[in-house]
C-alpha cells in the first residue's frame, strides 16, 4: 500500500469538484444545488489543506477556515433566499424559475 500523499488528496478534491459540478448542473432542486455548491467548496478546502500540508505553509489552512466561514454565510443567505422564493413561487425547482430573460 502506498502511503496517503498529496496526489490522493488532489484526486479526492477533483472527484468532489466533479460531483459537485455535475450536481449543480443537473439537479433541479435548489436545495440539492446548494448542497452541491458545498461539495465544490469543500473540494477547494481539501485542495488548500493538502498543499498547505505538503508545502509546510499555514496560509492554506487559514484560507480554508475563511472558506468554511464563507460557505456557512452563503448557505444561510442562500437558504433564506430560497425560503422567500418558495413563499412567492411555491416551488424550489430551478428550471421553473426563469423570469430573468429578455
Amino acid at each position: 500500500m502506498h502511503p496517503v500523499g498529496t496526489v490522493h488528496y488532489l484526486a479526492l478534491s477533483a472527484a468532489l469538484l466533479l460531483i459537485g459540478t455535475v450536481g449543480v448542473l443537473t439537479r433541479r432542486n435548489i436545495v440539492i444545488i446548494l448542497m452541491s455548491i458545498e461539495l465544490i467548496l469543500n473540494a477547494v478546502n481539501i485542495n488548500l489543506i493538502a498543499f498547505s500540508h505538503a508545502l509546510h505553509n499555514i496560509n492554506g489552512q487559514v484560507f480554508a477556515i475563511f472558506v468554511i466561514t464563507d460557505a456557512v454565510a452563503e448557505a444561510a443567505v442562500g437558504l433564506g433566499i430560497l425560503i422567500a422564493l418558495f413563499r412567492n413561487k411555491e416551488t424550489v425547482q430551478a428550471d421553473e424559475i426563469d423570469l430573468l430573460k429578455w
Binding site: 449543480v24 448542473l25 430551478a94 428550471d95 426563469d98 423570469l99 430573468l100 430573460k101 429578455w102
Partner: protein, 736 residues
C-alpha cells in the same frame, strides 16, 4: 433771510398747492348732486366757437363758462370751499413774496446773477461732440436767477396771484372748483420751473408742463366737444414746435457740449464761433429749430392756430396762460438764447419777419371778429408778433419789456372781458352787447385803461414798449423800414380793433337781449379788485423804460434796460447804433405812431358808435375781403386740407395701404417663411435624424438576436455555459 439760496422754494409752493387740490380737493369741495347733473347733462353756453361763426346761443345756465350766478344762488359756498380759495391764491402769494425778496437781494449782487444747483438730474453720460471731442452730458435741478428770470418770476407770480384772486370770484359757481385751482397752481409751478431753470433740459420740463396745464385748462369743460377739441389742437400744434425745440437742443448739445445757459452763453460769446452772416451754418440751424419751438408755444405763424381756439377755456385761463405768461415762454426762450441769435443774423431776420407777419395777420383777423374773447386772442397773437419782431431786430430787452407791459394790460383786458361775460350771463358775442358803460362801471373804466394802454397812447404802458419796438425796428441795423411800416400798420389796426371792441361793448345803442338785460350786474369784489390793481399796473409799468429821446427823464427812468443789461451782451452794440439816428427821428416816429393810434381810436368811435350803419355798408361793399378776414384767412381750413385731411387722412390711407401690404406683408411673409422652414426642418428631423437614430437601434437589435437566444432565464443553463467555457479554456491550454 437769504432768499437767493432758497429760490428753489419758489416753484414748490404752488406745487404744494396743486398737490393739495388735486389729491384732497374733492373732499373740500363736495358738489350737490343737482349741480353735477346740470353740469354734465346740459350743453353749456359759450357763444360762438368753431369756424365760420355759428350764431347759436343757448340761454345762460349755471355750470357754463362762468355760470350765471343769479341762477346759482341755491348753492351756498361752504367753509371748506373757502379753504380752497385761501390755498389756491395763497400759495402763489407766498411765491410772489419769496420772488420779491429774492429779486431784492439779487439787485444787491455785483453781477446780478445767482445760480443754485440742487443736484444732478441727468448724470454724466459721455458722448462725442460734433467736433470729435468727448463731452459729458449732464443736466441739473438747477435754478438761475438773473435779471431776465427775475422779471419773469415777478410777472408769473404777481399777475398769477391777481388772476387767482379773480378766479375765486369767477369760478365760484363752477363745478370742479378744486380741479381748476389745482391745475392753476400746477401751471404756476411749471411756469416757474421754465423761467428759473438753469439749463435748456430743465426749461423743457417746464415748457412741456405748462403745455400740459394749458391742455387741461382749455379742456376744463371737457364735457363740451369743442373744448376738448381745442385742447387737443393746442396740444398737437405745440408738439410740432416742441419737435423743433428738442432737435435744436440736441444740436446744441452736439455742437456746444452743454445745455446749461451759462456754459452755452460763455461758449457762444467766446469768439470761438464766427457770426454766420453768409450761408446757413450749424448755429443757424440750431437757432431756427429753437425758434420753431418758440412759434409753437408763443403762437406765431404758422403755428398760431391753437391760441384763438384756446379761448374755450375759462376766461381766467385765457388771461393767465394764453395771454400773460405761458405764451411768452417762447419770447423768454429766444431772449435767453440771445447770444445764439446774435451769431445767426439770418435766423434773426426770419424771427423778425415771422413776428411782423404774425402781428399784422392776426390784427387783420381781429378787425372783424365778433366774439369778445376771440378779438383779444388775436390781439395776443399780434402783440406776441411784436415781441418777436423786437427779438429779431436784436432789441431783446425791448421784447422783454413789451412782454412785461403786455402781461399787465392783456391780463387786464381778458379779465375785463371775463367780467363782461359774467355780467352778461355767458354772452360772448359783441353784437349782443352795447351801452354797458353805466351798468358795469368798474369793468368799463378798467377796460378803458387797458384799451388805451394797448392802443399806444402816451403815458400808459403799451405806448412805451410798443414805441420802443417800432423805434428799434427802424433804427437797428437788423431792422428795416418795411418791418417798421408793418409794425406801424399793426399799431393802427390794434387801436382800431380794440376800440371797435370797446364801442361795441360799452357804448352806443344797447343790443343786449331783453332776457339777459335784466340780470346785468357788476362783478363781486374778488373780481374787480384785481382789475383795478392791473389797471394801475397798466399805467405805471411802462414808466420803467421811457424812450431815450425823453431826455428830461434821463437814465434814471430807464430802469428796465439797465436792469436787463447784464443778460444781453449786445446792449453795448445796440447803444452804439442807436446813436446813428438822431433823437429828432425818434420824436417824429413817436408822433407818427401816436397819431395813427388816435386815428384808429377815432375811426372806431366814428364807425361803431356814431355812424353805426357804415360798417355794414363797408362789409357789403367788400364782401370777399370781409369773408376772408372773418374766416381768419382760411388758415384753419388750409391746415385741415393740407395736414388734417391731406397728410392725416390721405397720408393715413397711404400709410394704411403701406401697413397692410408692405408691413403686414413682411410680417406675414416672415411667418410663412418660418412655417415653411419649420416644415422642412420637421421633415429632416423626422426622417433623417430620427431615421438615423432608429436605424442604429434597429441594427443593434438585429445583432442582439443570437445572444438573446442564450438568455433563457435558467440559472443552471448559465452555470453550464460557465463550465463549458472553463473546459474550453482548459482544453485550449492543455492542448497547446
Amino acid at each position: 433771510m437769504n432768499f437767493l439760496d432758497q429760490i428753489w422754494l419758489i416753484p414748490l409752493f404752488p406745487l404744494a398747492g396743486a398737490a393739495l387740490m388735486l389729491l384732497f380737493g374733492k373732499l373740500l369741495d363736495p358738489q350737490p348732486p343737482s349741480e353735477v347733473a346740470v353740469a354734465s347733462g346740459v350743453e353749456p353756453v359759450v357763444a360762438e366757437h368753431g369756424h365760420g361763426g355759428g350764431h347759436a346761443h343757448a340761454p345762460a345756465h349755471p355750470g357754463a363758462d362762468h355760470g350765471a350766478h343769479d341762477a346759482g344762488h341755491g348753492h351756498r359756498s361752504s367753509p371748506l370751499k373757502f379753504l380752497i380759495k385761501l390755498i389756491g391764491p395763497g400759495m402763489v402769494l407766498v411765491s410772489f413774496i419769496f420772488s420779491v425778496g429774492a429779486v431784492w437781494q439779487l439787485s444787491g449782487l455785483a453781477n446780478r446773477s445767482h445760480q443754485v444747483i440742487l443736484y444732478t438730474w441727468l448724470a454724466g453720460m459721455p458722448f462725442h461732440m460734433a467736433n470729435g471731442h468727448l463731452a459729458t452730458f449732464s443736466a441739473d435741478w438747477g435754478f438761475l436767477l438773473d435779471p431776465l428770470s427775475s422779471v419773469m418770476i415777478l410777472v408769473v407770480t404777481g399777475i398769477g396771484f391777481l388772476i387767482h384772486v379773480y378766479a375765486t370770484g369767477y369760478m365760484e359757481h363752477d363745478t370742479g372748483f378744486y380741479r381748476f385751482f389745482g391745475y392753476f397752481n400746477l401751471f404756476i409751478f411749471f411756469m416757474l420751473m421754465l423761467v428759473l431753470a438753469n439749463n435748456y433740459a430743465l426749461l423743457f420740463v417746464g415748457w412741456e408742463g405748462v403745455g400740459l396745464c394749458s391742455y387741461l385748462l382749455i379742456g376744463f369743460y371737457f364735457h363740451k366737444k369743442s373744448a376738448g377739441d381745442a385742447g387737443k389742437k393746442a396740444f398737437i400744434v405745440n408738439r410740432v414746435g416742441d419737435a423743433g425745440f428738442i432737435l435744436g437742443m440736441l444740436l446744441m448739445l452736439s455742437v456746444l457740449g452743454s445745455v446749461r445757459f451759462t456754459d452755452v452763453n460763455a461758449a457762444l460769446r467766446s469768439g470761438q464761433f464766427p457770426v454766420e452772416t453768409a450761408g446757413f451754418g450749424v448755429l443757424s440751424a440750431m437757432s431756427l429749430l429753437m425758434f420753431i419751438g418758440a412759434t409753437g408755444k408763443s403762437a406765431q405763424f404758422p403755428l398760431y392756430v391753437w391760441l384763438p381756439d384756446a379761448m374755450e377755456g375759462p376766461t381766467p385761463v385765457s388771461a393767465l396762460i394764453h395771454a400773460a405768461t405761458m405764451v411768452t415762454a417762447g419770447v423768454y426762450m429766444v431772449a435767453r438764447s440771445s447770444a445764439l441769435y446774435e451769431l445767426t443774423p439770418n435766423t434773426a431776420s426770419v424771427v423778425a419777419g415771422i413776428g411782423a407777419f404774425t402781428a399784422i395777420l392776426a390784427a387783420t383777423i381781429a378787425l372783424v371778429q365778433n366774439d369778445i374773447k376771440r378779438v383779444l386772442a388775436y390781439s395776443t397773437v399780434s402783440q406776441l408778433g411784436y415781441m418777436f419782431l423786437a427779438l429779431g431786430v436784436g432789441a431783446y430787452w425791448v421784447a422783454v419789456f413789451h412782454l412785461f407791459t403786455h402781461a399787465f394790460f392783456k391780463a387786464l383786458l381778458f379779465l375785463c372781458s371775463g367780467s363782461v361775460i359774467h355780467a352778461m350771463g355767458g354772452e360772448q358775442d359783441m353784437r349782443h352787447m352795447g351801452a354797458l358803460k353805466n351798468k358795469i362801471p368798474i369793468t368799463h373804466w378798467t377796460m378803458w385803461v387797458g384799451s388805451v394802454a394797448i392802443a399806444g397812447i402816451p403815458g400808459l404802458a403799451g405806448f412805451f414798449s410798443k414805441d420802443e419796438i417800432l423805434w428799434q425796428t427802424y433804427s437797428s441795423p437788423k431792422g428795416s423800414q418795411l418791418l417798421w411800416f408793418i409794425g406801424l400798420a399793426t399799431a393802427a389796426l390794434t387801436a382800431f380793433y380794440m376800440w371797435r371792441l370797446m364801442n361795441m361793448t360799452f357804448y352806443g345803442q344797447s343790443r343786449v337781449r331783453p332776457e339777459v338785460a335784466a340780470h346785468v350786474h357788476e362783478s363781486p369784489a374778488a373780481m374787480t379788485v384785481p382789475l383795478v390793481i392791473l389797471a394801475i399796473g397798466s399805467v405805471v409799468a411802462g414808466w420803467l423804460g421811457t424812450p431815450k429821446a425823453w431826455t428830461i427823464f434821463g437814465e434814471a427812468w430807464r430802469g428796465f434796460p439797465n436792469w436787463l443789461q447784464p443778460v444781453f451782451a449786445s446792449a453795448a452794440v445796440e447803444a452804439a447804433k442807436e446813436g446813428e439816428h438822431s433823437a429828432s427821428t425818434e420824436w417824429i416816429l413817436m408822433g407818427l405812431s401816436v397819431a395813427i393810434a388816435i386815428i384808429g381810436i377815432s375811426l372806431a368811435r366814428y364807425l361803431y358808435c356814431i355812424k353805426t350803419e357804415i360798417p355794414g355798408r363797408i362789409q357789403a361793399r367788400c364782401r370777399p375781403l370781409h369773408t376772408v378776414l372773418y374766416n381768419k384767412w382760411y388758415v384753419d381750413e388750409i391746415y385741415d386740407f393740407l395736414f388734417v385731411n391731406g397728410l392725416g387722412k390721405g397720408g393715413g390711407s397711404v400709410l394704411g395701404a403701406f401697413d397692410r401690404n408692405i408691413v403686414d406683408g413682411g410680417v406675414n411673409g416672415a411667418g410663412w417663411l418660418t412655417r415653411a422652414s419649420a416644415r422642412i426642418s420637421m421633415w429632416w428631423d423626422k426622417w433623417i435624424v430620427d431615421g438615423a437614430v432608429r436605424f442604429t437601434a434597429f441594427f443593434v437589435k438585429m445583432l442582439s438576436y443570437p445572444v438573446c437566444i442564450l438568455q433563457t432565464g435558467r440559472v443552471q443553463a448559465y452555470a453550464f455555459f460557465v463550465v463549458v467555457g472553463f473546459l474550453a479554456f482548459l482544453g485550449y491550454y492543455v492542448a497547446r
